[in-house]
Symmetry: D2
Subunit: 342 residues, 4 copies
């Protein structure tokens, strides 16, 4: 089958034929329809420091996808051929404290598809049945991006949203999803912030009350919409140090900060004044709650409360992965999708 | 000033002149604009058993209102003449365990205006400044019904709503508000149930996904919208024993039941099968959280997330209190309002 | 192997030889050391209405046990022969909403060992590895009763205990465990109530601040220890209707009631006065949170914070199951254990 | 009356006669018995940068105290002369979002006694009755230090303690209190860490499972007592940057960090690896929840679950304030108390 492969150490990807994946008794084999492309894929393609330390080539990339089940392992009872599905890409140990208490998303033995084992930028992928979710009416195009949407759901819905003033710092695809989710979940107002006007336009399409570039207008908007109190919830989706300080400054006393963006390097923080005297709560977000977040997503999507499609800006065939990565690198893209099968 | 008075024991109300209320150093005097009429007012007018045991005539009725501040007590610093306000009608002790830990709504020393002391069906009312809330742009007509809306907010927002299937049993005014609040707070679906088609029409106006009379169609709707799981949250707003059993039956395993409707008498409950084996959580709702619920209401109303006005069906001048009560007694009314001043 | 079998419909048990259980690739085979005997076993032995409706003989009884792993299925990686273990006796589907969101204890497809499939009153039992927990230093005698202890941990630790006045109604084995757990978890006081003085003596051994028969002394103790507020948390472990009304009456305004005892039949409840006006929260407890409760138990037991052994009153060999059941039926027993292997 | 006064800008305190404080209708006048001395008092005495920016001399110092009510304001109904009391030293506005939703401890208009207005290092202090708490059997020596104990209660009891491994970094007086509270609230183990062996001896007296100087032994203890998982809860009470990094490193994946110690200046934090990838929750602790924390303290103290006295190391008469401050400055002291009246 055709696949996008990191063939060896160093920059670059190749599209080449690889064997169809083997699958075990507890797995299903899925013919991939759509796959989402992510900043992580760009890091692996470019072979940045993180990638060089973690990825063991050759590996098929891709951790966001949807498709159709074409084979079912011998011990799998809950799926059958022909079902349209997506999957959680974190394959966890199932036995550790975290896995046993509803926190599998931070299992220390996690293997991520497309990073630690072969992924979804291919015609077929084998997945443990436990990780697979039926789409049940959700279009496959949306199913393909439930992994990053799940990051946004996890970020937003672990805070108290109904009636809250929500500030989203960074309006890349996950930030744009967060804007839409907060609006759908009853936020009093959602303020999206980004340096890029194209991304602000997407945030507006996704339902932002205001979409602004960083600066005094953000402060003014937060103050106006919160009766001078500050933001109840800040979703930091950019990883920029300046945004972090904005997060602390613009949160209300007693507010909550959800950290999803990954700063590259240490950021000096004045904990006394930025965090402690304000009585803030800070939560580090990674992955998706398994499987509470997936259940919530299904509800929002099937109930028509949330539609991520306005944030999808690019679609490419598998062969054009380099164009897909270039779109991400430009900083102008919303969500970028590969159209692989049908 | 003119007021609606329960003059002595026994049925009936009188509209008569009474002295303007005295007000102390910590009080404000408010010229009433609108007042909401409630089932409790009907009970006092008809002098049912509860009223006979609690109310000490003569008393001015009315506990839901809005108006304009016309006098400010000597030690009051946070209000000034001319401000438009509403107020929490539960005057609490401030010193007990409940008052000291955010549960003033269940203070055992509560005095309710219009029940235990003179109320708001009058041209003026004196209120402790602590209980008064600025409208800040909320229309006085809406301000007048923030007390019963607050019951609905308390009922709905103490459950987890975003993504949930919410079943509202009983679509009187508070039930209709609950429907609208649940929809605004991100419910995946809100199913309103009532025996009265006029109330179901109001529930639909307020945003119900489905509005149904009790029967198999309710079960079918819950199952369909919840993928066969049952309702995540049931708001029991009717007090009818049959609705209680529906609540237990239609809640999903691990679901939550909010009890606001007041059954008149003991209801036989099979706790083993209806509650324990299902792992349900049940919460008894009374009043409004002081003042978290009021803050939430301000946010939903000022943010335009929720408008209670479709549920207002009748407006009367103060003199026509009997017509107002008749409208409530008919069972067809949504919210009924007295127009007192301007 | 020798086993205690419900051989057919109707009262009575037999001790007889049965084949050693088969075990699959994902299972482990355990040589049983100790097993706990429970009221459920008595119901099956006596063939009450519940048992007649659910149990399909022949079945080996017993759902509480500990033992040594003697065989390991082909796909099991986390256990090895010789390890001492106990197990969760609820075998759940793993795929439903409840299983996927940390509520497997209320999975509707649960199969219980010793009820729906062969259990632990036998020399060997096969268990899915997912349900097995390493004892890691916990004595096997204690390991054998972690199932009912888990009910008590689930009951107590899903309420807020540090600083609380906790009332435990019903001091059978699970009630006695609840007393000890509440004391270990920082309750300000734990009041145990039972009609049986022998059980009250056990409750005292387990750490009850007071152990009392129902009556005015209970009310007085609750009032005295709570500064007149009422109990913060009531654990209803008896299923007696009178105890339920005591629970509602003795809980403080805003208190929490944990229902574990199973009333046999409907109980008339005045929800208006007993629940709603008091702002109570009620939670139906069944089974153990999988596997949060087990983690908590491990911590309390290994940390030496809690020792259930004072509540163990009887030990019998497997052949004397009838004596074990008679001890339970007498109402005087604490926990009753079968000594099966070593 | 005699009082300890910061007479003007610059270092130093004076003991001199000042007028007895005036008290208003809503106040009580209290004859001080004991008062706690705190690092904040040292900062004011030494006139550090924070003090120079905030304190407006002349002001009577002291914010921790107990005493006897000797006069009662005209509108105060809940107290009478002769009652022994302590008080919350944060005088809050009562009207802001924080005050109205149970977060008065982070009211932005807070006035602190002994900092922003005259305090308790004097023979008498006037306090708003709302801030006053009856001791009801708690010794006045303990009552005098309920303010810093309250910081420790707030820190510990806003985390989930029963069954948890709790790491306390910094064993000054508040750290020592935290050790004792965590032990009383059912921690599986409490590990106290400090550079000063005298403080470690106090932590051991207060109930630490282990008391260690920073280094590999701390890591080893955390790993051993948590089955290799890391600490469930870390209470950072030192403000030292190295301790902060220890907190992040030693917390388990999904753990919780309570920040009470105040770093002086920005600390570089690698949020990606120290916080986000670990899924940590961080909470900034300031003051005491008003008045939930005070209620909890009353329960622990009156129930005999916690005794702070082993951490009291020095007692001085009011005149010896310089010796008291010197004891604190030495770093060897536990809690230091002034004995003022009787």
């Amino acid at each position: 089958m055709k696949a996008i492969v990191k063939a060896g150490p160093g920059p670059g990807l190749v599209v080449r034929d690889v064997p169809k994946p083997a699958f075990g008794a507890a797995d299903v084999l899925i013919r991939v329809r759509h796959a989402g492309v992510c900043g992580t894929d760009l890091h692996i393609a470019e072979w940045n420091q993180w990638a060089a330390g973690r990825v063991k080539p050759p590996v098929v990339l891709g951790h966001e996808f949807s498709g159709e089940i074409v084979e079912v392992g011998a011990s799998v009872t809950e799926f059958r051929k022909g079902e349209l599905v997506t999957a959680e890409g974190h394959i966890i140990c199932g036995h550790c404290l975290q896995c046993r208490t509803g926190n599998g998303h931070i299992c220390q033995k996690t293997q991520i598809i497309g990073v630690d084992r072969d992924g979804a930028f291919a015609e077929f992928i084998a997945m443990p049945a436990t990780n697979v979710m039926r789409l049940d009416g959700i279009p496959t195009e949306i199913g393909a991006i439930m992994d990053p949407m799940g990051n946004a759901f996890h970020t937003v819905l672990t805070a108290e949203i109904p009636g809250s003033v929500v500030l989203v710092l960074g309006c890349g695809p996950i930030g744009c999803f967060a804007v839409g989710i907060a609006a759908a979940a009853g936020a009093r107002a959602v303020i999206g912030v980004d340096v890029n006007p194209k991304r602000l336009a997407l945030a507006t399409k996704m339902g932002a009350t205001k979409a602004l570039t960083p600066g005094p207008a953000v402060t003014a908007a937060v103050q106006e919409l919160s009766e001078g109190n500050g933001a109840d919830v800040v979703c930091e989706m950019s990883g920029a140090p300046s945004a972090l300080h904005d997060a602390f400054r613009l949160a209300r006393y007693g507010g909550r900060i959800q950290l999803l963006g990954l700063p590259s390097g240490a950021v000096p923080i004045d904990l006394t004044n930025e965090v402690i005297f304000k009585g803030l709560t800070i939560y580090g977000v990674i992955g998706r709650k398994m499987y509470e977040t997936w259940h919530q997503m299904g509800r929002f999507l099937r109930g028509g409360r949330f539609d991520p499609r306005p944030a999808i800006t690019h679609r490419f065939p598998l062969e054009r992965i380099d164009d897909a990565l270039a779109a991400i690198k430009s900083g102008d893209a919303g969500k970028v999708i590969l159209e692989i099968g049908s």
